[in-house]
């Protein structure tokens, strides 16, 4: 497997490509990561690790690339092409590359599975710059999050890139299956904007359903986040769970006829939360979660990344695993989110020194 970094690709595209090949690598494929001359700029992107020296202070880079073999391509185009040809003359099952890479044309006649990751759909002009943030905006997901009185809000992390990365992984698996059957496998193409739109399909179905677009609702939403003693709780319920939630909180005010139907609750959602909130304010996340689950109410304690490291469900499933890295002890990261006949998958120990090697045939 080759992951070919294009020096001109925006960071948001690089993150998508790297996530897709990370999954393939963790599943056991040998991934050779070809970094542009000067190295993958993600090596210096936050979050940065404390006291990490050398080429890899970036937790982002390590998460995405642990277990891959890194090679730096020459800067000169003829030498770069020769290097790629040399690599492709060996056994290569798949190539992930980024939009605008001139190597794409030379792969058209090859039998390898080709996945191209881009920012924009082919149907749109692609000259404009894109960031993960503007991809969320253009794909409509930004409009759905936050308060209607305030600016649209991005989801934490790199969700435009990572949803595209998951799409690229699945497209690659489809290509391999097509090849298994002896059929030609045309190149797959994934764009960040399309992945965001695909994820955000309910916004379009909502227009179909009611004529109006659903949008961010802030404190008018049925699902809100309220404070508790040691943090926050996402209050989540449907018509099926409301009576259990009402009984859990135990406030007589919640029996008011305003709250007897879903339409009534939506119309008086702020009053509803005024009556709900005090119950949470005097309980911890663990207490709320235990009491809610006992009644079948799907309340969600807000867990930060640090909480996830010590979470008992994650521990029982060995979801957080050590990262074998001699340069810094104590690193832990999530394995792939699947148990396959009970087996988990995480980055293999580095085959070579993790710093990139210049490659010339």
């Amino acid at each position: 497997m080759l992951e070919i970094g294009n020096a001109r690709a925006p960071t948001c595209v690089r993150l998508a490509t790297s996530l897709a090949t990370k999954i393939v690598s963790d599943l056991g494929a040998r991934v050779i990561k070809l970094e542009p001359f000067g190295g993958d700029p993600v090596r210096h992107k936050p979050p940065l690790l404390p006291d990490a020296s050398g080429d890899e202070p970036s937790a982002l880079f390590r998460f995405l690339n642990a277990g891959k073999t890194s090679l730096i391509l020459p800067n000169e185009s003829t030498a770069m092409r020769r290097s790629l040809e040399a690599l492709l003359s060996g056994r290569v099952d798949g190539v992930f590359l980024e939009e605008g890479d001139p190597i794409r044309a030379s792969l058209d006649e090859s039998s390898v599975a080709v996945v191209e990751v881009a920012g924009w759909p082919t149907t749109m002009p692609t000259g404009r710059r894109l960031s993960g943030f503007t991809a969320l905006a253009l794909g409509g997901l930004l409009d759905m999050v936050g308060s209607p009185q305030r600016e649209p809000l991005r989801l934490g992390g790199h969700q435009a890139s990572y949803s595209a990365g998951l799409s690229a992984f699945t497209a690659f698996m489809a290509l391999l299956t097509q090849r298994d059957a002896g059929h030609a496998a045309p190149p797959a193409r994934i764009s960040l904007i399309e992945s965001v739109m695909w994820v955000n399909w309910k916004a379009i179905a909502g227009v179909d359903d009611t004529g109006g677009a659903p949008t961010r609702e802030g404190d008018g939403s049925e699902f809100q986040v309220v404070r508790c003693l040691d943090g926050w709780i996402a209050v989540v319920f449907t018509v099926t769970e409301f009576n259990n939630l009402r009984d859990l909180v135990g406030s007589r005010c919640l029996h008011d006829e305003r709250f007897a139907t879903r339409a009534g609750r939506v119309a008086h959602i702020r009053e509803l939360y005024e009556y709900l909130s005090p119950w949470f304010a005097v309980r911890t996340r663990a207490e709320v979660y235990a009491e809610a689950q006992a009644r079948g109410v799907p309340l969600g304690p807000v867990c930060g990344p640090s909480d996830l490291l010590d979470d008992q469900q994650n521990a029982a499933r060995d979801f957080i695993v050590p990262l074998n890295d001699p340069s810094l002890e104590g690193l832990r990261l999530p394995r792939l989110p699947v148990l396959w006949n009970g087996r988990g998958f995480a980055p293999p120990a580095p085959r070579e020194p993790s710093s990139p090697t210049s490659f010339a045939p």
């Binding site: 905006a137 759905m144 109006g212 996402a234 769970e241 969600g300 807000v302 699947v338």
Partner: protein
């Protein structure tokens, strides 16, 4: 491209996480048989603004239509022994099973992995659940927003120094992304099953998928305990000079990212020099329409984009790329998040009415004759109208 031609999927998928995963397999050429019953329909059939007073309301939900095209649909009551036996037979001849019930439901119905694998060891059985097959939370009740909170994304989402925010019922982000991963891992397991003759039980936790998508934050937190005290920062992003939404003269929003100092200089050259670039941008945007502001900033080499809503998206055919498919009757259904060789997704059939293909499947796949089919109908096993 139909890489999954000659692959049969028995789809117990509900709502988005399960049904959407099967839809992705259908789009790649698999024969997907969606299993419901009169007493247990896909919950999407009951959503949206269906007119409950009109007959056939359960077949008119846009949410169901978006997610279940390219499938055939059967109504078989798994709670009745005759229905259960038929489903076991159907699964015994299948390549893939997809289910996202609460843990324990499939086992109680006699349709769990162990039962099916004993008859069909090559089966790839994908169990998509909230928290996984194992662990102390395995039976806990969750929705997508619950998992957005418990999986870590909500903690990283919110206005400056303000409370966490979830994407809410109109997105349910964890429900969406799980399909993108699950479909790929199912295909990987199918390739392995074909190679080795050994199937797989895939235990896919939506919470784990959600957490995986902030993997770098978990990794950083494992050695940097100060990160647990970091405040939320709105649309700002570490390592990015300025990133936010700005309101325009026509009361719309645009999104702008200034990645580095060079971007800041480019921006100042467009909006006018000021020590307070944010304030300057606010003023500059309020004097322009969203389209003009975006076009000007983009022409200056910056990453700027309109904040689209669902109405704009349904009109933006070019932007939608391959993600939407317009049917001959004018209706829209979901497309694919990728394309192969630039080809459009071919939608062969619309989402099935409840039980639309029951007889077809009983006759052509399970080999039942007319007498047996009528007997099942008389027992209520194949009833195709909801039990209310």
């Amino acid at each position: 491209m139909k890489p999954l031609a000659n692959v049969r999927v028995v789809d117990f998928g509900q709502l988005t996480a399960g049904a959407n995963t099967s839809a992705m397999l259908a789009d790649l050429g698999a024969e997907v048989i969606k299993v419901e019953s009169a007493s247990f329909m896909d919950l999407f059939r009951s959503m949206g603004s269906n007119q409950r007073d009109a007959h056939g309301w359960w077949n008119r939900s846009p949410q169901f239509r978006f997610t279940n095209r390219n499938k055939v649909g059967v109504a078989l009551d798994a709670k009745k022994p005759e229905g259960r036996r038929l489903l076991q037979d159907l699964m015994a001849g299948a390549d893939i099973v997809v289910e996202n019930f609460r843990r324990g439901v499939m086992e109680r119905l006699g349709l769990g992995y162990a039962t099916i694998a004993s008859r069909n060891p090559r089966i790839v059985f994908a169990s998509i659940s909230s928290q996984g097959e194992t662990g102390p939370y395995r039976l806990h009740t969750s929705f997508g927003s619950t998992l957005e909170a418990m999986g870590g994304i909500a903690a990283l989402t919110g206005y400056d120094n303000d409370k966490p925010v979830v994407s809410g019922p109109h997105v349910n982000y964890p429900d969406q992304v799980v399909s993108l991963f699950a479909a790929g891992i199912i295909i990987a397991a199918l390739r392995e099953a074909r190679r080795t003759g050994k199937g797989a039980h895939l235990d896919i936790s939506q919470r784990e998928v959600t957490s995986f998508l902030i993997g770098e934050e978990i990794l950083a937190s494992s050695v940097d305990h100060k990160r647990s005290r970091l405040a939320r920062r709105g649309n700002a992003e570490d390592g990015v000079m300025l990133q936010d939404c700005f309101r325009t003269m026509d009361q719309k929003w645009i999104a702008l990212t200034l990645e580095d100092q060079a971007d800041v200089e480019r921006c100042l050259a467009i909006v006018g020099h000021s020590k307070n670039i944010r304030g300057r941008l606010v003023e500059w945007c309020m004097k322009r329409s969203a389209v003009e502001a975006c076009d000007t900033l983009a022409a200056g080499g910056l990453a700027a984009g309109l904040v689209h809503n669902g109405t704009a998206l349904s009109r933006e055919h070019k932007l939608a790329g391959h993600t939407l498919v317009r049917r001959p009757n004018g209706e829209i259904v979901k497309g694919q998040p990728y394309s192969f060789g630039g080809q459009e997704l071919k939608v062969n059939c619309d989402a099935p009415a409840l039980g639309e293909h029951t007889e077809l499947v009983l006759r052509n796949i399970l080999g039942l004759d007319e007498t047996a089919i009528q007997h099942l109908a008389a027992l209520g096993v194949t009833r195709a109208e909801p039990v209310t």
